[in-house]
């Protein structure tokens, strides 16, 4: 078997094993949380008999291992169970929320990733001159300010004062794409500002590192101009670290948007999770945790696969 196939298979298998371990961790973690679902559903005045009946009905008295296997088996077949509080099917409610979160993350990524890489290249081209310093200063400032603060400031300036975009990012199926985009303009802007700096600085560092190589000198001595040298000769060798940081930030866009969703009242996974944590609805929390973990592990796996594929020594063995 070619080395590259072996490495890819290993990496993917590792990702799956990791996901399995994390699912166990999520299950154990939610098990040891204090509190009792039956108690919180029925309230303080419930009789011990009623509590006992409800627990039996919810399957809370079964041995943990059995419940884990049931849960995992269900999750793998797309059945995440029913919410304890509302009795609603979790898979159906999450699908809706997840698609909203992915919609937001998608548009944030579409803007942030190319912009970050472009700014990174620009910073390299004008290294230590004013464009580089300006880009660094602005992106560092934007990452240093807490995201909720940026959110509220933008809301005040753009939504309240200028009235360009709505302050609350409510979307539903009946809206056109244009309306939806207008609704999410503010959260997308905030998310872009939050993830931009990290990706841009990593792009800059990775390319600057490559720019020290002897083959960059060769390219310069061919009479290529600055951008040609960076695009053709430096960038292809800096893909692996750049993709790595891009994937980390994409993962953040999906799993880390809780605060932004709450600030802009956006109907995504984050809000859904926060609602159900406060209600101690364990199956929902578990399902959200599992999906977040899968997204995170999956995107990192993609980064590693791209890194392996971008290595010419592995792609074209001797």
């Amino acid at each position: 078997m070619p080395l590259i196939v072996k490495l890819l298979a290993q990496r993917i298998a590792l990702g799956l094993i990791l996901l399995l371990l994390v699912s166990g961790l999520i299950f154990v973690g939610t098990m040891i949380l204090p509190g009792d679902v039956a108690q919180s559903i029925l309230g303080q005045s419930a009789t011990p008999e009623a509590l006992e009946n409800l627990r039996a009905e919810l399957g809370l008295n079964d041995p943990p291992l059995q419940r884990y296997i049931q849960w995992l088996g269900g999750a793998m077949t797309g059945d995440l169970g029913t919410a304890l509080t509302s009795g609603a099917d979790i898979t159906a409610s999450i699908a809706k929320r997840l698609s909203n979160t992915l919609f937001l993350a998608f548009w944030a990524a579409i803007i942030a990733v190319p912009l970050a890489i472009f700014l990174g290249l620009l910073a390299v081209r004008f290294k230590d001159r004013w464009p580089d310093k300006l880009i660094s200063a602005v992106t560092l400032a934007s990452i240093s300010i807490p995201e909720f603060l940026i959110g509220y400031v933008l809301m005040y300036l753009i939504a309240v004062k200028l009235r360009w975009f709505p302050s609350v990012a409510m979307i539903n199926d009946s809206m056109s794409l244009g309306d939806k985009l207008s609704a999410i303009a503010l959260p997308v802007t905030v998310l872009t500002l939050v993830v931009l700096a990290h990706m841009m600085r990593m792009t800059r560092a990775a390319i600057l590192n490559v720019m020290q190589s002897a083959y960059i000198e060769t390219a310069e001595l061919k009479g290529l101009n600055g951008f040609q040298v960076i695009f053709r000769h430096a960038f292809p060798n800096a893909i692996a670290p750049i993709v790595n940081v891009v994937m980390l930030n994409l993962a953040y866009l999906v799993v880390g948007v809780v605060v932004i969703e709450v600030v802009f009242v956006y109907p995504g996974m984050g809000q859904y999770l926060v609602d159900h944590v406060s209600k101690r609805d364990v199956p929902v929390v578990q399902a959200c945790g599992l999906i977040f973990a899968a997204v995170y592990i999956g995107l990192n796996m993609v980064a590693d696969v791209v890194a392996i594929l971008s290595n010419p020594r592995l792609r074209h063995p001797k």
């Binding site: 060769t218 000769h233 060798n237 074209h316």
Partner: protein, 545 residues
Amino acid sequence: MSEPLLKVRGLKIGATVYPPGEKPHDIDIVHGVDFDVQKGKVLGLIGESGAGKSTIGLASMAYGRGGVKITGGEVWVNGRDIMQSGLGDIRKLRGGEVTYVSQSAAASFNPAKKIIDQVVEAAVEQNKFSRKEAEDRARVLFDKLGLPDPQNIGDRFPHQVSGGQLQRCMTALALCPEPDLVVFDEPTTALDVTTQIDVLMAIKEAIRDTGVAALYITHDLAVVAQVSDDIMVLRHGNMVEYGPVDQIINHPQEEYTQALVSVRSIDHEEKAPSGDPVLSVRNITARYKGTQFDVLHNVNVDLYPGQTLAVVGESGSGKSTLARVITGLLPPREGEIEFAGRTLSSDLAGRSPEDLRELQMIYQMADVAMNPRQTVGTIIGRPLEFYFGMKGAEKRKRIIELLDEIELGEDFIDRYPAELSGGQKQRVCIARALAAKPKMIICDEVTSALDPLVADGILKLLLQLQKIEDVAFLFITHDLATVRAISDSIAVMYQGKVQRYGGKNQVLSPPFDDYTDLLLSSVPEMRLGWLEEVIANRKMESAGN
């Protein structure tokens, strides 16, 4: 005479340096150099490291590495002063009129792109040829440079061809845009001698056939004598001597040039083996962990007290692996090492402090073999403490003795490695090895990173110390001139086997086996016409077969 292709007048080059603990300041690297290169002629620039030869070569492309700047003078290419040209004109010059071949093609090719794309890039970018024409041209050049499968080799990636082949691809890269001038910057220095001769031949023929002019930069006078029409000798950024190649090689005027020409003049008589060997390598077969093939096959050599055994071979021949086995870093699969009458544990952990003390090592890179934050006194004093428990005045006295032996003197005791030159650093490493009062020292390419004159000094010192201390050297090298200068016996290694072994005179006298013959005949000799002779001989031999 017509207007020269390249005319350099009063060229001054400076750089900003950032020494630790001091304010950054500007220094001059080249202090005003004049020379001409006529169309189709080759000028050799020669000198030791720091002489400014690469800097001058790159200046002909208006390029400065790192913080290097051209601070004065004129550089005329094709009748234009490129110092007065705008950036756009300079870009047309680079890769169009003047191209560059670097020392390490392996580092100078972009690992992510196919060879052909890189070879034709300048020609296409400078609108000299269409992509199609440039590719055809590249294939013709690949063929001319003796590369295998010239039609398809360009479709490979740089890591898929050998070092010597890649160096030839780099030459094709430089010749593809049909430049007027090529700057060859030590193009064969990183290659093995048997590979070097092929590349040298290819370069020489390519220069002759294309009629391109060249600046040929090297520290090896014997190499430059084969390809140049004129030679300029440089030292510390100044011109020492400049003239036709015949004059420089056969009638050097300046003392420094004479020293360069007569370097490696050490006359060392072979000593006959006496007494019991201090080291006996018995039937050693070894492989690296996790690999499926042996890198050493049944190696047997002996080293006698107070003598030098030179282990010579090309990269990959197993000579450094042999050192790893002897020092215990790589336990062999079979065989054993006898040292001073006892059998050494194959594993480093199983050796006694006495074993460790009596077997010392000196490395190629003196730089990285010393802790940069320790003074010379601390570095040499460490083995004195460790093996002999010396302290205070007694230790200091011994350190000064050792410093005297390596011809450095007492005032070096408080200096840091960064304050020493390359040769001085290697001397400190020698003193550190001697401090343990060893019976034997393994010298692994100890002069390879040094300039010829400095290397010569180190070899003389080693011979002198051998007489005083009666220590045996196992001397690993790829350089046959060094072998001649220092050895009593020689082991020629090839593909993990000892190809030829015996006393120096016997090994270096005919009849030779094929490999030793190839190796010996590939070492450049400092006389005109040597390369042509070897080429003619080899063509005759291959025609005869």
